[in-house]
C-alpha cells in the first residue's frame, strides 16, 4: 500500500515539469501559434465579399496595398495611400513617443527623490495608464470638442481666444489632439519603467560625482544614464511597438479623419479587414505590421548594443 503510494508520488514528481509546462504550451500553440500561421495563410488568398469564396492570389494582396497600380503615381512606385498612412504613423508614433519619453524621464527623476508623500504622487501620476484607452480617447475628444469642450471653454472664457477652434475639422489639429491623448495615456508607463531603473544607480556614485564637482547634466550623462540604459531600451521598445498597433485612441477620437488625415496603420488594417470586409488584404497588412514590429525591436537592440532578453 505504502509502496504503491510512493510509486505514484515518484511518478507524479517525475511528471512535474511536463504537467506544469505542457498545458501552457498547448494553450499557446492553440491561441498564438495557430492564429499566426493562419494569418500567413489568409494573406495569400482573396475572398469574394459576396459569395465568401476564396481564391489563391499569391503575393497580390501585398503588392496591391504597397505598390502603385495603374494610373496612380507614387514615390518609388509605392501606393500613395501606403505612403501617406505610413507618414501619419511615423508622425504619430515619433512625436508621441519622444515627447512622452522626455516628459516621463523628467517626472521619474523628480519622483526618484526622497520626497514626503512620494507614494501618493506616484499613484497620482500612474492612474491615466490604468484607465480603458477607449474612455481616455473619448475623454480627450470631449476635452477638444469644438463647442462645449473644456479646452475651448478655458481659452475663450479666459479671453485668450475670441473664437472657438474646431480641432477635429483640421487634419493637423486632429493629429495633435491624438498625440496629446497618447502622451497622457502612456507617459505613466515610461515613468514606472524608468523609476524602477533608477533604483539600480548606486547612491555612492552620485556622492562621488558631487565631490568631483560634476554638474547636474554631467552627473546624469556619466552616472545615471549607463545604469538607466537597459530600462530606457525596454521603455522605448514597448512604447513604440504598442503605439504602432494602437487602434483604440485613433478609432474613438477621429476614425482616421477628417478625410484620411489621421489614418494610421492600425486603423487602416481594421478598416480594410472589418469595415471593407477584405480579409485577405487585412491579413497582408497584419503580416507587414508583424514584420515591422520585429524589425523595430531588432533595430533598437542594435542601436543600444544589447541582446534582446
Amino acid at each position: 500500500m505504502s509502496t504503491e503510494k510512493n510509486t505514484l508520488r515518484r511518478t507524479l514528481d517525475r511528471l512535474f515539469v511536463p504537467l506544469t509546462v505542457g498545458p501552457t504550451l498547448l494553450w499557446i500553440a492553440a491561441i498564438i501559434v495557430y492564429p499566426t500561421l493562419k494569418l500567413l495563410w489568409s494573406s495569400v488568398f482573396w475572398q469574394n465579399p459576396i459569395s465568401g469564396e476564396k481564391q489563391f492570389v499569391g503575393i497580390r494582396n501585398f503588392t496591391e496595398l504597397l505598390f502603385a497600380t495603374g494610373s496612380q503615381t507614387g514615390v518609388f512606385g509605392l501606393a500613395p495611400d501606403f505612403v501617406s498612412i505610413t507618414w501619419h504613423t511615423v508622425v504619430y508614433v515619433g512625436l508621441s513617443v519622444s515627447i512622452s519619453f522626455f516628459l516621463g524621464l523628467g517626472i521619474a527623476l523628480l519622483l526618484d527623490r526622497d520626497l514626503l508623500g512620494r507614494g501618493w504622487l506616484r499613484t497620482a501620476v500612474i492612474v491615466p495608464w490604468v484607465l480603458p484607452y477607449v474612455m481616455s480617447g473619448l475623454m480627450w475628444r470631449w476635452m477638444f470638442q469644438s463647442q462645449y469642450g473644456a479646452i475651448n471653454g478655458l481659452l475663450t472664457q479666459s479671453g485668450l481666444l475670441s473664437q472657438k477652434i474646431a480641432f477635429f475639422s483640421d487634419g493637423t489639429l486632429s493629429m495633435m489632439a491624438l498625440i496629446v491623448a497618447d502622451i497622457w495615456v502612456f507617459t505613466p508607463f515610461i515613468i514606472i519603467i524608468l523609476l524602477a531603473g533608477l533604483q539600480n544607480v548606486p547612491e555612492q556614485l552620485y556622492d562621488a560625482a558631487e565631490v568631483d564637482g560634476a554638474g547636474r547634466f554631467s552627473r546624469f550623462v556619466n552616472v545615471t544614464y549607463p545604469f538607466l540604459k537597459p530600462s530606457i531600451l525596454v521603455a522605448l521598445t514597448i512604447r513604440i511597438i504598442f503605439d504602432i498597433r494602437a487602434l483604440d485612441l485613433v478609432w474613438v477620437m477621429t476614425q482616421g479623419g477628417p478625410g484620411k488625415s489621421t489614418e494610421v496603420w492600425a486603423s487602416w488594417l481594421y478598416r480594410t479587414a472589418q469595415v471593407f470586409n477584405r480579409p485577405g488584404e487585412g491579413a497582408a497588412l497584419g503580416v507587414v505590421l508583424l514584420a515591422v514590429t520585429f524589425l523595430i525591436v531588432a533595430a533598437l537592440y542594435r542601436i543600444f548594443g544589447e541582446s534582446p532578453y
Partner: protein, 306 residues
C-alpha cells in the same frame, strides 16, 4: 553653492525667507520638485475631473455656453439612466466575467509554468521561454483576421459549439493571447527572486515537488501572483480591439464597447457617455489608487530582463 539665481530663489526672496544658509540647496531643490510635480498632477488630473463633472451634469448643462467647471445642479441621473435605458448591467457583467475568467486562467497557468521555467533545466527551456517572450511582441491587431475566422468557425470544437462569434468565450480565449505570455514571464522572474534553498529545505523535510511548491513556494509568491492578477485583470477589462471585432450584441459586448456606442454618426450623447466612461474607468482608478505598488512591481518584473 551656486550663485545662479533661479525662479525659486525669487519666490523665496519674495516670501522674505531667504538667505543661502537658512535655505540649503537641498531644501530649495525639493521645493522646486514639489512645485513641478504639483503642476504636472493638476494638469493630468484635470481631464478626469472634467469627465467626472460632465457625468454629474444634466444634459442641458453639458450643452451650455459658457462651459461650467463646477456643476451647478449635480445629479446622478445619467448613471441611473444608462442602467435603465441601456443594458449597462449586462455590459458590466460581461466585462466582469471576461476579465475574471481570463485572469484566473492566466494566473494559474502562468504561476505553475513560470515556476518550472525558473527552477528546472528541461529540454528546450531556453528556446521555449524565448518564444513565449517573443509572442508578447506580436501585435494583437495583426491577428484580427485569423481570430475573426477562427471564432466564427472554430476548428476541432466547432461541431460541438457552433460559432463562438459574439460570445464571452471568444473574448476570454483571445484575451489569454496577450496575458498568458506576460503572466508566465512575470512569474518566472518573480520565482527567480525566491531563494532556491527553500525548495531544498522542503525536499529535505520529505515534501514531494508538488507539496514543496504548494506549501512552501506558493505562499512566498503571493505578491507576484497579486501583481500578475491585477495587471491581467486591468488589461482584459480595458481591452477594445478584439471586443470590437468579435462581438456585436449585448450578450457579449463589454464596457469599452458600450461606452463607444454613445458616439452616433453625428451626435455624441456626452452626459451619458461620461457616466458610462466613469463606470468603465472605476476598477482602473481603484486599482491605481490602492494597488499601485503591485502594478509597479508587476510591470517592472515583466519588462526588465532577468
Amino acid at each position: 553653492m551656486s550663485t545662479k539665481r533661479s525662479t525659486l530663489d525669487s519666490v523665496v526672496d519674495a516670501l522674505g525667507l531667504d538667505t543661502e544658509d537658512e535655505w540649503p540647496y537641498i531644501v530649495r531643490e525639493r521645493l522646486l520638485a514639489y512645485a513641478l510635480l504639483a503642476v504636472y498632477v493638476v494638469v493630468i488630473w484635470f481631464p478626469i475631473y472634467y469627465i467626472l463633472i460632465t457625468s454629474l451634469k444634466p444634459t442641458t448643462e453639458v450643452l451650455q455656453i459658457p462651459v461650467t467647471f463646477v456643476p451647478s445642479h449635480p445629479t446622478i441621473s445619467n448613471y441611473i439612466e444608462i442602467f435603465q435605458n441601456r443594458p449597462f448591467g449586462t455590459f458590466t457583467l460581461n466585462s466582469l466575467v471576461v476579465a475574471v475568467t481570463t485572469t484566473v486562467i492566466c494566473v494559474t497557468l502562468g504561476t505553475v509554468t513560470g515556476y518550472s521555467f525558473s527552477r528546472y533545466d528541461f529540454f528546450g527551456n531556453k528556446a521555449l521561454l524565448l518564444s513565449i517572450v517573443g509572442a508578447r511582441m506580436i501585435p494583437p491587431i495583426a491577428l484580427i483576421v485569423p481570430f475573426f475566422s477562427i471564432m466564427s468557425n472554430p476548428p476541432l470544437i466547432g461541431g460541438l459549439t457552433g460559432s463562438l462569434y459574439d460570445t464571452r468565450i471568444a473574448l476570454i480565449l483571445t484575451y489569454t493571447f496577450f496575458n498568458l505570455p506576460f503572466a508566465v514571464w512575470i512569474m518566472k522572474n518573480y520565482f527567480d527572486g525566491v531563494p532556491e534553498s527553500l525548495d531544498e529545505q522542503a525536499r529535505i523535510d520529505g515534501c514531494s515537488r508538488w507539496e514543496g511548491f504548494v506549501k512552501i513556494i506558493l505562499p512566498m509568491a503571493k505578491p507576484g501572483i497579486a501583481a500578475t492578477a491585477i495587471l491581467a485583470f486591468i488589461f482584459s477589462w480595458n481591452e477594445f480591439v478584439f471586443a470590437l471585432v468579435l462581438t456585436s450584441s449585448p450578450q457579449a459586448q463589454t464596457l469599452p464597447i458600450a461606452v463607444s456606442l454613445f458616439v452616433a454618426d453625428d451626435f455624441v450623447d456626452w452626459a451619458h457617455l461620461a457616466a458610462g466612461g466613469m463606470i468603465a474607468a472605476l476598477p482602473g482608478i481603484l486599482f491605481g489608487l490602492f494597488f499601485q505598488r503591485y502594478i509597479v512591481s508587476g510591470l517592472t518584473q515583466g519588462a526588465v530582463k532577468e
